[in-house]
Symmetry: D2
Subunit: 340 residues, 4 copies
Amino acid sequence: MIVMTPAATEAEVEAVKARLESRRNLHVLVMPGELTTAIGAIGDPEGVAELGIEGMPGVDRVVPISRPYKLASSELAHHEPTVLEIAGRIVGSGNTFCLIAGPCTVESREQTLAVARVVASAGASMLRGGAFKPRTSPFAFKGLGPPALEILREARAQTGLPIVTELLDTHHAEIVGETADVIQIGARNMQNYALLEVAGQLGKPVLIKRGLSSTVEELLMAADYVLKEGNEAVILCERGIRTFENATRFTLDLSAVPWLKLHTHLPVIVDPSHAAGDRRLVAPLSRAAAAAGADGLIVEVAPDPETALCDGPQQLAGEEFAAYAADVAAHAALTGKRLA
Amino acid sequence: MIVMTPAATEAEVEAVKARLESRRNLHVLVMPGELTTAIGAIGDPEGVAELGIEGMPGVDRVVPISRPYKLASSELAHHEPTVLEIAGRIVGSGNTFCLIAGPCTVESREQTLAVARVVASAGASMLRGGAFKPRTSPFAFKGLGPPALEILREARAQTGLPIVTELLDTHHAEIVGETADVIQIGARNMQNYALLEVAGQLGKPVLIKRGLSSTVEELLMAADYVLKEGNEAVILCERGIRTFENATRFTLDLSAVPWLKLHTHLPVIVDPSHAAGDRRLVAPLSRAAAAAGADGLIVEVAPDPETALCDGPQQLAGEEFAAYAADVAAHAALTGKRLA
Amino acid sequence: MIVMTPAATEAEVEAVKARLESRRNLHVLVMPGELTTAIGAIGDPEGVAELGIEGMPGVDRVVPISRPYKLASSELAHHEPTVLEIAGRIVGSGNTFCLIAGPCTVESREQTLAVARVVASAGASMLRGGAFKPRTSPFAFKGLGPPALEILREARAQTGLPIVTELLDTHHAEIVGETADVIQIGARNMQNYALLEVAGQLGKPVLIKRGLSSTVEELLMAADYVLKEGNEAVILCERGIRTFENATRFTLDLSAVPWLKLHTHLPVIVDPSHAAGDRRLVAPLSRAAAAAGADGLIVEVAPDPETALCDGPQQLAGEEFAAYAADVAAHAALTGKRLA
Amino acid sequence: MIVMTPAATEAEVEAVKARLESRRNLHVLVMPGELTTAIGAIGDPEGVAELGIEGMPGVDRVVPISRPYKLASSELAHHEPTVLEIAGRIVGSGNTFCLIAGPCTVESREQTLAVARVVASAGASMLRGGAFKPRTSPFAFKGLGPPALEILREARAQTGLPIVTELLDTHHAEIVGETADVIQIGARNMQNYALLEVAGQLGKPVLIKRGLSSTVEELLMAADYVLKEGNEAVILCERGIRTFENATRFTLDLSAVPWLKLHTHLPVIVDPSHAAGDRRLVAPLSRAAAAAGADGLIVEVAPDPETALCDGPQQLAGEEFAAYAADVAAHAALTGKRLA
């Protein structure tokens, strides 16, 4: 839809029309209004975008009508929800709730195995834990690297929980792909397209965290990068966006959950830990996510969060996890879901 | 806490110290560090703010340590939650949930009475409805004015529901005060201090909506404007903030609910309608608000939302309200609350 | 422009078309596309807004095409720039630059007269100074009130500078209107419509500051509130918006200057002081505003900013003002403007 | 600086003090206040961060006092500005202005050579042009890849202009490093730490664009990632941040220019093209950047912007570039700088 300025001449309208018609497969419709003329162009959004109409004389705005994401769309692609099975856990079916829990970062064998046992016995669906950590400052702790992957494999062997871990660098694709049951793409990498494509090719489900200043439409476009590799196993994760409010570290955008459930067939989960930045907010936000219709949660737990090396203040204590999980499950049950 | 630049001289540190000490009741402590010197000033935050320390040579930053709100603080003022009784409805007690429902705007007697009956029979606690509406454009519908107040009184007489309506202009204080059981201050007026003071003097509970770009700390400072008039009956309302995301009209900040419950003794409710801008998001966000620990909801309902003159697409249909209320009540029940 | 969902049925399209056609003066055009159908409705934007189309089955989005502001529009209203003459100073002519300077708040007769002399001798166009100050916390200093207006009148008598001062409350309209040569509406009141209307009726030019989370379109709608009172003398002021960045207090949106100059006939000035929050940023941002094409600046100056009671750290020192004014004037001169 | 809650017990204060003292090299100071106790910890900020103090009972907040960036700091690292010489062009010296211009994307040999000649003859300092382009949607044009690098080399040979081009993927490091005179890191990759480290190791100057939701402090931390590789040749670039305002694509944060000049020794340039999204805003914003004290600009130019495949509407037309460059140079001259 091209909107002309009120002062646009007929010749300018004609020039826009002519350029649009230079593109095959475009149906063009001129709509003269009282104040301004609008021109509809139907059939090939990328085609229109590449014509440079916005810079032509007399053009006020180009208003895109079609959605910019395709494969992730419940309207344009398949209408049935995507249901994943990950080592026996069902994600996205509408009657299961996927509770992913574990330490922010794998810091030691003892810490990781202890947390794994705690969350497994409380009914968690999967184990999370970072081997490589993105850090804003180059002087901060960056994770144990490959030895952490070894520890995660041991935790899986002991508890049966599938492993969710982050892929941070295309050079680690092979070793992360060998261990992970779910490949996590972090918020800072949501628009790292090289990484998305590599992740999509590993043959494992990919969990994409929303970028901290990315719109939900951009999240779906990021999913398109993985889906176009032929990998249909994508999980979306809301984790808080950057706003002017700094009472919390990020603003958890729970509206994104029902919005995404309306517009995509992919499962949608929520990470309440990073946005809260305060352990006391994690449980209420987790219950809220379940009530809003999320397909699951990914949450940080530590045996002794007060001494965790990374992101300590937001991690749930291991001892409170069983009560937390029961609480979340009760709210999920009201929406028809039970723990996967 | 005053932080000096690394290059600050001893004379500059001394000058800051001397100015702080010129204020009575201030305890001053110099803390020399490896790179920078910090100076603590304890005892009188407003006093420090008025000394103009930030502009002195060698000063890098002034970091306020104390909270800027006082009367609304659960730490500085009374530690017990404030519990209101409004025509028999209990708000803020920890075991009641206050469901305020009604049309966005009073458009006609028929519409308003019809909605009032629907929400009363489904268990709503109070009736909302605008007599005067703030509109961004001066050419939009602005409400019926005084006749709307008459209609609201009739609705109260028929259903017994107390009335929540907005005060928009200090000139309407008397007539709004005569009708309303709860005086609403809209988001655009959250920092209209003249209005807050007048509202505080009417002797009725005041419901303050968070400004669309106000922090939660500023919401508590706005509450202080009412509280300092001797009016202890204040209800806070999260209604969405402005962010870069425009898939929804505003970003409902549900983290504000548990944050406020930690930091203030006042009741906290949520308005999911304006933020969503789409009726299909209202129910999931309402359930989420209840799950996050809100003391209530204020929601828009219309008998036939498709023809409402104002904010139509976000209003719940009357016919779906009973199911909606039951759903919300079930989530509230899990947090120990029943409909007031 | 109404966009249907891909799954919308023909009956749903027809229902939307029928409702649009129920409105007189609307020209309706159905445009079937490959994936979705779009429906253009031309001729009466408020009419369409009130039909509640957004809530109808099968409707995906309503995309407004026309601009929401009218009287302030350079396209819809008069195409010639509005030029004001205020006590001999020309604002908005394209070859004049209006430098408004003075203390944040009138704190004393001595302070105000001293600053007035400094800025007058350096070539300032007008004197600013607050008699009533909006303060986020009710416990902060709120201005001297009426005695400050008296001091401002004396400063005008001594220097010949017209007075810019803020109207905060409709109850002060008369006394502020008697003193002010320009009525300022503060950022927090940009959507206080009762105040805008009263200001518009005082027969004096009105300077409207952009709300800290208001879009430029909303700023123009606020101007419409004054313009529709028959008052054509409106000045717009960019003063910084709220974003995630907190290295500065607000983010000065200098793009708003050329955007507004393209879309409105009203003069556009910039307030660099409040956004910066640090005196050292004020001069570079002022030069940038002049270079971006602003019609003027409004800036805070204090004889001794380090002891100012309010907003001290951002005020220019009186002794540096002459150099500052010369610098700004040099950049303004490159855009064809000289100090008014 | 640790702030305790008003209700914190003496035992809780003692526990925090004890944990802080468990760290060597930390000097600990308890400051009891009227309402709350604050505890200063001086000497090792990373150490404090890793103690998990924020999660301890009785702790309200941990307020970091020291700056999180180090090598990029003008206070902590070297106080002299970093001056780069790139093929004879001086950047960051305080009396030179670096004008980098060229097409958004290398689309063809003809287009690129034509633009290169235009910008060279108007006095540009360097040539920009993308070989690999990050695109939000996987279905959009992504650049010509290696053949584009060949074209850029030919343009350099013809005009003598050094080449600025983006590194998008660590796998392209070698071939991009062979051609580029300056390696550009795009906004979406500002926190792609693997890429920053690789870029830092190529032995070429690195131009880092600010992430669209990154603070200026985070930009300096990203610079630290390159600087710690021993590469001192880093240029910072403000290019607009994401805010609620969508009249422009991004909000160009020109306050960042003087703020960065105060806090870092690195050169600071501005990209006005992407933020504006409208060619008519590019010239005023470029003049403003020069007036604000920037060390240069990076701007998009196309021979025929209306048919450019990518980002057309924001590119300057080749024919207007000479006038544009003269305008910018005049404003830069007022700040003491001439075109490099």
